[in-house]
Amino acid sequence: MKARAINAKSLEEFKSQIEEAKRQHPTFSLCILFCSITFSVKDIQYICIQNELDLFGCTSSGEITDGQFYTSQTISGLILSMPSDSYRVVECDRMGDDSFDMAFRAGKSVENLFAEQSILLLAQGVGANADLIIQGLQHAIGKSTSLFGGLAGDNLALKRTYVFSSEAIYSDGLMMLVLDNQKVQLHGLATSGWEAIGVFHEVTEAENNVLLGIDHQPALDVFLRYFGSFDDANVGLEASENTSAQYPLQILRDDGSLVLRAPLFGDTNRRALVLAGGIKKGDKFRFSISPGFEVINQTVEEFGALQKKAPDADALILFSCIGRLGAFGPLMEDEVRGIFEYWDKPMIGFFSYGEIGATEGAQCDFHNETCTLVSLKDIS
């Protein structure tokens, strides 16, 4: 399978790069694409259709191409010469369903596409309950299907995100790239590195991803008490400005594993904390602070271990939490480049509002603050 990663700062540049790639390799059939919300998705669709490329993508909050990351509104595209019978792009609009029912419906529609299959999933980053999406999907297709992906971004405006294919653009829905495992092999890993600090707290009131009460006190007040660099004046600001996403809650699962939930912003009216993922009453959690910069090396090493397990890859896709960008700043480059250099294969990615995947030894879950990597290999 031929693969090429491109990065463009404009639609024209994107068009030019796509056309050049097609000229060189007319077999390119699929374009996986992440772009800043500032670009016209319709124009991107048009360019892809013109170049006979199936499109599978979403808007983002920063893009990654090969060993570089960009926060200055770019388009990252991975074009692949994947045989058309080895994959299927499946769209699913919400159509009034809740997240579970929507995902269940999507899962049922791909249940028997291939004898063995894995799924790359892109879902809306604002207003969806990613936990329910995973639950609904797994309820339909089972837990044995590999499932990786991320939640779309909008440069941290937290207003509207899009997922799209060649034919559809959804602000309230999900996209799946279903791969035939007998032709394309998928490996993936999610890793975090955030360290918990302090005592365990209990969620005493919550509604979906809105945390209302911690230890019987208003959640926002507790959060502000611990993370004093925020005050009432800026907690209501977007996560890019209040940097709260760098201080996720580490929720203890029943099986002992931890799931991170990044606080996006504070709701000063309800004295609540809006998280980038669901939380429920009774959950136990600890606060965490940004990890030391040594975590970058640890993360890279963990993917080094993955590279040993799956050394051959044609292309790589990276879903990195926006919270990592806030925490590591320009040093994020070391992580991105380090991972890229292990395989030295075309790689794109984006900074997401949440990641879907399995950490080492655990089942697929919805995460924040992780770096989730997927490798693709043509085995047909």
Binding site: G198, V199, Y226, G228, Y247, I289, A327, P330, L331
Partner: protein, 334 residues
């Protein structure tokens, strides 16, 4: 970026701009300039974030310490409440102990009064016997020596005198026996009650024969009892049945059930003869003058009751579901 770094970068840029460099050197210097800017930016970010993280970590730790201190305060408060409750309990305990002590003193006083009363009853009974014996003896002498000199009325009076003296003698005997319960031969020891039962029957053998009665017991326990007192109990219970039952033949049965803290004895008669002998109120109070005019019957029942009390038990009469009267008494296990 701090001011000093900015100054260095600006100076570098100025030199690059104004210096007279050949193209190759200028390109190298420009690349170096970019690299320098990038590294300064990275280091500045690291420094800023480290400082911020440090501040947050300190705040987090302080808050955690504060939370722990609050928890500790709550614990201390709870401890104080527990301590106060403990003190209150101790005070209550002291009050209870004081009251128990007072109660024990009262009980002691009561026992002393009771003992004095018993002693008085004993000595009074004992002392009554001498004048009573004098009355009886001299009335007998009067009857023997002067009977032919007495008229009919005098003889009748003498007969009343003898009869009354005898009755009083019986009452004094009974009172003496009652006062002796718990005084003599009353040491508690392991006693085979089957033997005690047999001994009581032996004492009543004449009455048993006269009444054509049979009194049988199922296996009785060996218990820590006052042997003498239990013998009196069996004796008086059976004697009452034998004396005061109008039945021609009696089939009395005694059995014992072992409970966790006491022995329960059940006394029955095959033809329900106990109904006649022991009315339901029978063991409720002490009375010498029993209905039917049998004064020593009252004393006899009082003795039974005293023996039972001595063994921390109860005695009463009840009817079973077949309307058969039975006497039930218990003695505490020791």
């Amino acid at each position: 970026m701090d001011k000093q770094s900015e100054k260095i970068i600006a100076t570098f840029a100025n030199l690059l701009e104004k210096g007279n460099w050949d193209e190759a050197t200028k390109a190298s210097l420009q690349s170096l300039h970019e690299e320098l800017k990038k590294n300064l930016h990275r280091n500045q970010f690291k420094l800023d974030r480290t400082l911020k993280d440090k501040a947050i970590a300190i705040r987090l730790l302080n808050q955690t310490i504060s939370d722990l201190q609050k928890h500790q305060q709550l614990l201390e408060k709870s401890n104080q409440v527990l301590y106060d409750q403990k003190k209150e309990i101790e005070t209550q305990k002291e009050i209870v102990e004081e009251q128990s002590k007072q109660l024990a003193n009262r009980l002691g006083e009561l026992q002393m009064s009771y003992s004095e009363l018993e002693r008085f009853a004993y000595f009074a009974s004992h002392d009554l016997r001498a004048p009573l014996r004098t009355i009886t003896s001299f009335s007998e002498i009067l009857g023997i020596r002067y009977l032919d000199k007495l008229d009919k009325d005098a003889r009748t009076f003498l007969s009343f005198l003898n009869s009354g003296a005898q009755q009083m003698n019986n009452i004094v005997d009974a009172l003496l026996e009652y006062s002796r319960v718990g005084r003599m031969d009353d040491e508690f020891k392991e006693t085979n009650l089957n033997f005690t039962f047999e001994r009581a029957l032996y004492d009543l053998r004449k009455l048993l024969a006269e009444k054509n009665a049979s009194i049988k017991a199922a296996e009785l326990p060996t218990a820590m009892v006052s042997k003498g007192a239990m013998r009196k109990l069996f004796y008086h219970l059976f004697k009452n049945i034998l004396v005061y039952s109008s039945a021609n033949s009696l089939m009395v049965k005694l059995r014992c059930e072992e409970k966790s803290r006491f022995y329960k004895f059940l006394l029955t008669e095959d033809n329900n003869a106990l109904e006649e002998v022991f009315p339901s109120y029978f063991f409720e109070d002490f009375r010498i003058d029993t209905p039917g005019g049998f004064p020593d019957k009252g004393i006899s029942i009082a003795i039974c009751k005293k023996v039972i009390l001595l063994h921390y038990g109860i005695i009463h009469v009840e009817k079973n579901d077949k309307d058969v009267t039975r006497v039930i008494f218990t003695i505490e296990k020791k």
